[in-house]
Homo-oligomer: 340 residues x 2
């Protein structure tokens, strides 16, 4: 596509890390989508990514319409350099594209004994509480904390009740979804996973007003405001769609999509070994909790992804046939050797 | 109780602001609880609140067992001073007590054209996904953003499906609560609001695994780790109970309860007037959204509290008889003129 070697390696690393961690929806399965956006000239493969505004510990980065997969690590690097010097660093990003899994970026900080934060807005698919319109993306937020003898605690979550990937699985299998995931075009409760394609919407975390969907809406709004209103990116219904067959809104309110990343040095608050010893204790206490079903333990945030990573590093990444075929079509297009 | 005049005024301001904003559960109704904790020598009314560790933009504050109502504003002041100088400021707090509404503290930053953050851990009432134990508090988080012609956007939410206050109302009225708010002592689904008092637990935002309760658990864990593992306060099931008739755990893992507050200068990212103009636009777009029920508009985060404040500033704060009686008992105890 014209990315330089460094950007190519970095983007591939972000996608592969997602597959390794079991988040198949955000890995190489997305490569086709990025290529289509590039074909529509919506991704700049030679971006001049730069800081356009800053203080000692804050900055706004313009991604120059580059791949979010390379723009977000640039921003995280800026945040970490500021944190190394001043204790914390915070970077809002505009004029970017889909950045892959939030966890990748937050974990960059964890490797340096920092607490990592990463969030992004995304194409509008989610209706705020009481709304019949799709005004927000699944707007994920991620917080990552370094532990001692245990792997890091990683809270990496869409702020919708269900991620779009789960809906796609139900669509493929022809299964109904639980009430509380989506509504139809009129805003009625539905269990039909295809409702999203006919004008319906995903619901915020909490699902309905009685169960706190205004909180899911509030979290999603927080991600949107930090990522885009603060950076100068598009927000709410103006966020450009990820799918290339839908054009971006004709009346943008900013540039591209937005991210917000940050890092705080653990030793800006207490000695790293003390923090890690207590986080280990926290993990042990929660893992050893009595449970409703003795066969189902409490899952520490990030644990399923770590288990997938341990397994897939040894046994490889299983690809569904459709994705393998897509990759081979791309290989042919770009003159790369296909997978056998 | 022995608080100095400045602390007394500040604590009263936090409580009254809560009542003004319609959050009756966190206002003067709590005064009795604070007094009881003081009688048990669990609140120090002459605390030496101080910074015990810091960098340019991070700090840990020890509240010396003071009222959270005065400890948290001290911490927020430290965060704002750091933000004024370096762009952002972040303060973890240990050895504190219940800090009232998170929104009060976050709004201190908004008044200075900063984005405000405030969170706190709390007495264990919430069971993580799959757990039958109460290991987390309702652990609220608050994000507050200054707007232009509109009031600030304030996301101030417990990370449980329902706040404890809502349960107490159902208990008082003898009403059942919706499925998804609580479980009984064995972890079974129940609609009996009294189940919490017989060993049951509140559920995380998302209510069950199918609807993303692991996300609510993850958010609550984030609040607990930032507020307590980072500061050196008690976390998880070790957080001392707010009610004075329950003793704190005999094996503390830290000091008191913990908070985490922060501030970022808007102009650390983009000019304040640009940010406010776009946040106004964001608010207008969401307020004008098509809705499922034409009589129920989309509610901007913070709007209900602002409406209550506008009303109660004019019409006064209605007190339920029980609270009014409690206040008069306290008035008598401390030789203050009772309300008529």
């Amino acid at each position: 596509m014209g990315c330089n070697a460094e950007h190519s390696r970095l983007a591939a690393d972000v996608l592969l890390r997602s597959d390794l961690r079991g988040i198949d929806s955000h890995g190489v399965a997305r490569l086709k989508g990025y290529v289509r956006l590039w074909e529509k000239k919506r991704i700049n493969t030679s971006p001049d990514i730069k800081i356009v505004h800053q203080t000692a510990t804050t900055a706004t980065v313009d991604g120059d319409a580059g791949l979010g997969l390379v723009v977000a690590p640039f921003a995280m690097q800026v945040a970490m350099e500021k944190a190394a010097q001043y204790g914390s660093g915070w970077v809002a990003v505009r004029n970017s594209n889909h950045f892959g899994i939030a966890g990748y970026h937050a974990l960059m900080a964890v490797e340096k004994d920092m607490i990592g934060f990463a969030m992004t807005n995304a194409s509008p698919l989610v209706a705020p509480t009481y709304s019949s319109e799709r005004l927000l993306g699944t707007n994920p937020m991620c917080y990552a904390f370094p532990a001692g003898k245990y792997p890091p605690v990683i809270v990496d979550m869409a702020t919708s009740a269900a991620a779009n990937g789960k809906l796609e699985i139900a669509q493929r299998l022809g299964k109904q979804v639980p009430e509380g995931w989506i509504q139809d075009a009129a805003g009625n409760i539905t269990t039909d996973p295809h409702a999203l394609k006919s004008g319906g919407a995903l619901l915020p975390l909490g699902s309905d007003a009685d169960h706190g969907s205004h909180k899911g809406f509030g979290l999603s709004a927080t991600v949107d405001i930090l990522s885009a209103v603060l950076s100068g990116a598009n927000y709410g219904p103006w966020v450009p769609p990820f799918v290339a067959f839908l054009d971006p809104p004709a009346d943008p309110v900013g540039s591209g999509i937005g991210h917000f990343v940050g890092a705080m040095r653990v030793d800006g608050f207490r000695p790293v070994d003390e923090f890690k010893a207590h986080l280990d204790n926290w993990i042990e206490r929660f893992k050893s909790s009595a449970t409703v079903d003795p066969n189902q333990k409490v899952i520490i945030p990030g644990e399923p992804e770590l288990e997938a990573e341990a397994d897939r590093k040894v046994n490889g990444i299983p690809l569904v046939e459709e994705v393998a075929n897509d990759l081979n079509v791309l290989a042919e297009k770009f003159g790369v050797e296909p997978m056998s």
